[in-house]
Symmetry: C2
Subunit: 541 residues, 2 copies
């Protein structure tokens, strides 16, 4: 960090920061030029490869006092390159395959700058104008992708002032909350003297309808945001019921049916079933058609959380995996996951354009009745124009471009699964259905030890393997060359015991087969020097 120059708050300084852009040779301009010319190179060069411990990083972010005096932009830019950028995460790196975040198409960077410069607020037409029809079109395109209604449907509803085919939001969590908010409010709608849950609240609603409780049923692999939705909406996490999955990590619909009937016999109304299309941990897709049948039987809302997997619909080859999604009442899709849009582009789609009636709201100064303001049907209020970036990706990449990207990701995951299976010291834990798989490193000798172990020894080995896997994952991340994530599953081959596994998501188009080989090679090397292995597992060999 260079010596600090003294800046002073004055009329002139302030006017300058609102009007005069940086000179081309300023630090910030140089950074921007590097990003424009070669984002991948910029990230490779400026994000430190070797991990610095968090408590070290925190040292640069200690003061709670807002500085009194202004600071020169160039000095600030230098500071954040050293203190922030160097210690951020290289989410776009093709060898960082542990996240759902991937590389970005280069054109989204200048478009983001345009979006920020325009600084529209999508809550209302008055502060967004053409951005509102654009967002409505993007929602229409995604609705069409999922539900495939005919042209006259979109002609009638896409730009209708009364309804909305979906809602843009910051991400999948708000999308899931919005979907279940609608499900709850439609179930507990006005009837006779009862003015509806939105007016009178949950307690009055339950008394009116005579339900003893509400429940939502979802696979045990459902995303944690669903539990959060149950909390926020007043339903309670205990009433958000996890149903076991089969060995393929898909929900057991028969078990779900039994549970639902048991609850309804107790006077507890099943408010919604949630299907998962691409679980966060294993990437599997629930049997959506069977779930749609069950939802119909129960006369309840059917929501599909396709935050990650929804982009699969863009591939004609892979979309049959999601068959039944078109029967969902609502669908969550995050464009910032497999649609290669930057962070902050969630969506929820509604089959019925009138679904949003249940959450409609107005105000005196905006969102007046009859306006086309999007804010009258969203959980959020003020929002940026992220829809522009989704629009850009849909048009520039095109459906066929997306199809190639999706298909390649799945093919790469199948290739990696084969690679793992061929290695006697690795073990594939979950087969890839989409581009996500889990595995672990279990040397052949340990596999044999498990086969010969008694129950007590097995428990010890399982525990040791979990600690070993976590240790390997952490050491690989810290070494900085590559990154796989980890999670905990309960696979049948480990007697349904909690099992720590490596998890990889292969959506980055820049990840090559050679890199995948290198990642396995690196893990083999790491295993040789792993302290946990030496301490707890070496003795079994």
């Amino acid at each position: 960090m260079g010596p600090k120059r003294c800046a002073v708050a004055s009329d002139e300084t302030l006017m300058r920061i609102f009007t005069v852009p940086e000179a081309p040779d300023s630090t910030l301009s140089k950074i921007e030029l590097e990003i424009s010319n070669n984002l991948v190179g910029f990230l490779n060069e400026n994000i430190a490869a070797i991990e610095k411990p968090l408590h070290e990083v925190e040292k640069d972010f200690q003061s709670a006092a807002i500085p009194e005096q202004p600071m020169f932009v160039s000095d600030y830019a230098q500071d954040i390159m050293e203190q922030l950028v160097a210690h951020s995460v290289h989410t776009a790196s093709p060898s960082f395959i542990g996240h759902m975040t991937s590389a970005l198409p280069h054109f989204v960077l200048p478009l983001s700058k345009l979006m920020v410069g325009l600084n529209q607020n999508l809550v209302k037409i008055e502060t967004s104008k053409a951005f509102t029809p654009l967002e409505r079109q993007v929602l229409g395109m995604m609705h069409h992708l999922a539900y495939g209604a005919d042209e006259s449907f979109y002609g009638k509803w896409m730009h209708s002032a009364k309804t909305s085919l979906g809602a843009f939001c910051s991400g999948g969590t708000v999308a899931n909350i919005t979907a279940l908010w609608i499900a709850r409010n439609r179930l507990l709608q006005p009837q006779g003297d009862f003015k509806g849950i939105n007016s009178q609240g949950l307690v009055a609603a339950m008394m009116h309808y005579g339900y003893k409780g509400l429940a939502v049923l979802v696979s045990e692999r459902g995303h944690y945001s669903l539990g959060k939705a149950a909390d926020v909406l007043g339903i309670g996490r205990d009433n958000f019921i996890a149903i076991k999955t089969s060995d393929d990590n898909k929900v057991d619909v028969q078990a779900m049916r039994e549970k639902a009937l048991e609850l309804e016999a107790q006077g507890i109304k099943v408010m919604a079933l949630v299907g998962v299309a691409g679980t966060t941990e294993t990437g599997n897709i629930d049997p959506l058609s069977d779930m749609a049948d069950l939802a119909q039987e129960l006369n309840c809302h059917f929501h599909v959380d396709a935050a990650w997997g929804g982009a699969t619909l863009l591939s004609a080859n892979a979309r049959p995996l999601l068959a039944g999604i078109e029967r969902a009442d609502s669908i969550t899709i995050d464009a910032h996951k497999q649609m290669y849009v930057p962070m902050g582009a969630g969506m929820v789609l509604f089959k019925d354009p009138h679904a949003t009636d249940a959450i409609e709201h107005h105000a005196e100064y905006i969102l007046r009745k009859g306006s086309k303001d999007l804010g009258s049907h969203t959980l959020e209020g003020s929002r940026p124009g992220m829809a522009m970036l989704v629009h850009a990706c849909l048009r520039v990449i095109g459906r066929q471009g997306y199809e190639m990207l999706i298909d390649k990701g799945i093919a790469k995951a199948k290739y990696f699964a084969e690679l793992i299976k061929q290695e006697e010291d690795f073990e594939l834990v979950s087969e890839p259905e989409l581009c996500l798989l889990t595995y672990r490193y279990v040397p052949k000798a340990i596999k044999q030890a498990i086969a010969n172990a008694n129950e007590d020894e097995k428990i010890d080995i399982y525990a040791a393997l979990n600690r070993f896997t976590a240790s390997m994952q952490k050491r690989q991340r810290e070494a900085g060359r590559s990154f796989v994530s980890r999670t905990r599953l309960t696979p049948v081959q480990y007697d349904n015991q909690p099992t720590v596994v490596f998890r990889v998501v292969l959506a980055n188009p820049l990840t090559s087969e050679a890199m995948l080989k290198e990642i396995l090679d690196e893990q083999k090397q790491l295993a040789k020097t792993d302290p946990i292995f030496k301490k707890y597992l070496a003795k079994y060999i």
Copy 2:
């Protein structure tokens, strides 16, 4: 729009969009260069001055089919310049004084691009690393600004894995929902056999605690997002009780006390009081100290919605207006309003670092207990690194810089109020307390007609004035030179009848006194040709 060139989805095309930036002479690069060199000029030149009707704009956003083939970036850029940018809203224009959105400091544009390029996800350390301590520092700085705890407090809590001093979110609505979610869950916390509302839900909670209902009390000028929060949280809009304001648009605390005692006598628990620090419609600040006293009496949560007005705390001169805010349990502040940060930077602050315990959640693969992941205490999940832009503004502008901006805005509003008062054909409806005021155009002759009118005539004139004001506002916006917004109040001088008024927010540092004069002059001219005036008001002169 130029002739469309044919692009084809191929491996090469796809790899290029992830790796090869645009050539410097491409359309998109040229746009970006213009933005960098002169954002204000770019917006002035490219946003069409004369308004195009929405149904015309919509024509370019009709197809619900996702295009099959890719498109060249340059072609796309040309399309959106003509179809989107030209018909967006010039929120940064110094003569567009109807919004809470203002001009942006130029350095946030390149920083936004850096933020998007880094594509961090703030839900967890694993995908954000140094961005997490940075965000915690920004929350600490804002907490310090509002609550001014001592250094040891921040040393202990700012980077604590167990707690959070606040939550970043997309905007004030999510901030308000988060605050009231916490208030609800703390009130209905675990006790004895009862596991808490978060686990067992609202109905079980009410049965356990024996409350007949819950209520939240707020000024009739409270933001509409509070009603939305009441709906989402299961409390019901009817239990979100609007308390009348005095003539100065500040809530009548005595009326609030009476209502609260009446509710509690009926067995309805007052869950929270909400104070407004800068109402959306008039910019006034509730008597926060008196409300804090009342909240203490009632032993309930005290939330302050300072989404717009919170930035006033940055001015030592103006902050006494918000006295008592330091006694609030939670505070909402939007950095994208008076802190000059681009759209999408909301915050909620918690006085007690343990407040977030009531909404804490964990998952297997992230947000593990003991981690410093911010996502375990937020309503949203995946989120972008907007905190960086707030951090940059706080450091580059500095507290003293902000003080000058805040003070200037208030001074400008007082100047404009004087200007209006000097004009016999205008009428100031609400005095500016911060930089927001409301007024209307009421020719002297009409003022006299009202003074002499009987009750029936008065009703007619009031109705005509409302339609006339709305017509003027719409015509001024459509003319494209300037923009004031409008809202509806119930001022005493109009016998508390619904009264449509012009509303201006004077936070843009580039708005000059000369521009304000021009806006009044333009309105005088518009009045002369207004069809509503001719039809319904001319006869009274």
